[in-house]
Assembly symmetry: C2
Homo-oligomer: 359 residues x 2
Amino acid sequence: MQHFKHTDLYNFTYNVFRKIGCPNNDAELAAEVLLKADLRGVDSHGVARLTGYVRLWEKKRINVKPAIQIVHETPSTAVIDGDEGLGLVVAPFAMKVAMEKASSAGTGWVSVRNSNHFGIAGYHAMMGLEKDMIGLAMTNASPLVAPTFATERLLGTNPIAVAIPANQQPPFVADFATTTVANGKLEILQRKQEKAPLGWVQNAQGQPSENPGELSEGGALLPLGSDRVHGSHKGYCLGSIVDIFSAIFSGANYGPWVPPFVSFLPLVKDPVGEGIGHFLGAMRVDAFRPADEFKKHMDQWIQRFRSADTVDHQEKVQIPGDPEREMESIRSKEGIPILEPVVKDLRGLAEKFSIPFIK
Amino acid sequence: MQHFKHTDLYNFTYNVFRKIGCPNNDAELAAEVLLKADLRGVDSHGVARLTGYVRLWEKKRINVKPAIQIVHETPSTAVIDGDEGLGLVVAPFAMKVAMEKASSAGTGWVSVRNSNHFGIAGYHAMMGLEKDMIGLAMTNASPLVAPTFATERLLGTNPIAVAIPANQQPPFVADFATTTVANGKLEILQRKQEKAPLGWVQNAQGQPSENPGELSEGGALLPLGSDRVHGSHKGYCLGSIVDIFSAIFSGANYGPWVPPFVSFLPLVKDPVGEGIGHFLGAMRVDAFRPADEFKKHMDQWIQRFRSADTVDHQEKVQIPGDPEREMESIRSKEGIPILEPVVKDLRGLAEKFSIPFIK
């Protein structure tokens, strides 16, 4: 495991996006969004995916000079066509539209079609915090999840992020897949050759499994709740709502029709829409209540939860966003650890595009 | 277990609400919302709670002639003060405001303070379906749930309902507590003297428990996900978001300060707001896309999921709302089964208010 400085990884990533043809501003933004994942400890969504984006570009599934446009709108809503652009660029564009709507109408809600993987949902949700706006971000994704009772993979890990400003306290930032675990955790177990806990995956026949490689053998991730007795139908509801808001509002593909992120899987033959879909929301806090009152009560909420009595007095109750913020603070100073296979991939990109790799 | 006709239970419930002083329209609405729970099979939220509302009224914690008013608004948002009215009446008022906002601004979002238990969230979310609106309804509730790692009860079961219209297919109606199970399921196990599955509750020390009576001994319900390994921090996030949107937007009580529904528990001494809070939302489908296109794709989504391959080909994949709709169809014809203790409670109300009980 090598450690890299954030700025070095950022510059390298920026150079790769420039080399595939992204305009300067887009390359900066895409690199920023991707690196935010590494900084916050969501390693599966950071530079580890850079080669994946490049491969999609090679397959002509990413348009590096998209004409992103609003195709429909009302005072508080819009639908955006991402023109096959990088989700890393399309989603912040859409979030800005949501925030403009919120400025005038109190809230703004934007559904996006014809996009691609948008990185970590939390980045987009957090965009409104400085303006005292609550941000929401969701996206659908490659089908890997079986609804309760199903053996088929019909939903993606369909994450939801919600960022809420406070005053003295850091913001509340929830950002989670609507499955028991994100796919990245299975990949880590596979690498370590360890078993997965029961309740994370099922095999191709829909039976409980401890094999972290089950996805490559026709198995599926399980919705949050794991099984019917523990509420997996609720996780399935959440993933479905994300799918519908992201894709049926906008005209993107949904359910099993969502195009895979990995370039080696073929696109479905009978698409029901264009690309993948996102849903972004912004709510001005003072559309409900003076911002200082709201944030004062958020401080009180956060303090009360953080100081709750805990099991064995060992673990503290964490506020959503705490672990990622602590990680960001550490990695900003100490650098970002990158696994050997990922370093190798990045070196490959350096060669491919004749750009210097990080010294 | 006796069976009662829906209309008989409705008329009786209406009479009780009239007797405690509700105006005619409010008594009709409150009875309709309450009975909707019984029809849809959510027995814990129907007439079984009628005595609970009456006891709150006796404690002067419900104002039967509330002056419900909008205290703040923007084109797409409003905050409503429920004036200590029945949640069964305050929430539909708020949902109507959300729908009016949606008519003009595309979407409408209403946070409510100074209210009470609002019955099933699904009733309110479904109000917009006929107008091709998606409805959302959430509420906070008496603290019974321990966040991940905590031994204290800081959140309610904080349900989320989302209703989405389709065309040929019945609507998608998700309505679920953000816990592994709703409290009602524990009460059923207690009555049957059966154990609870692990992952539903913890004891007062925060240890796993199979005792369905754990709540009366200082234990707590668990957030959806059950434990940290299976994603309980995600259920805790969801419950927290419901709490914040319902109460910190509006100025209601939140977290451990939410007043208990049961009248025998005292109110907290240092309230941070007024009453309990709700959050209602309405989104016009055609604020995003022509309604017929949207609904055609919802039909396709629903059909694809409903026809998915299943484990052992036994259970079918259910669409959110399927079980409740089937129950409503059966109970509308065959009557509503009411448990003996509830029948006894209702007879008690008949005596108290000198109204005839159902023959």
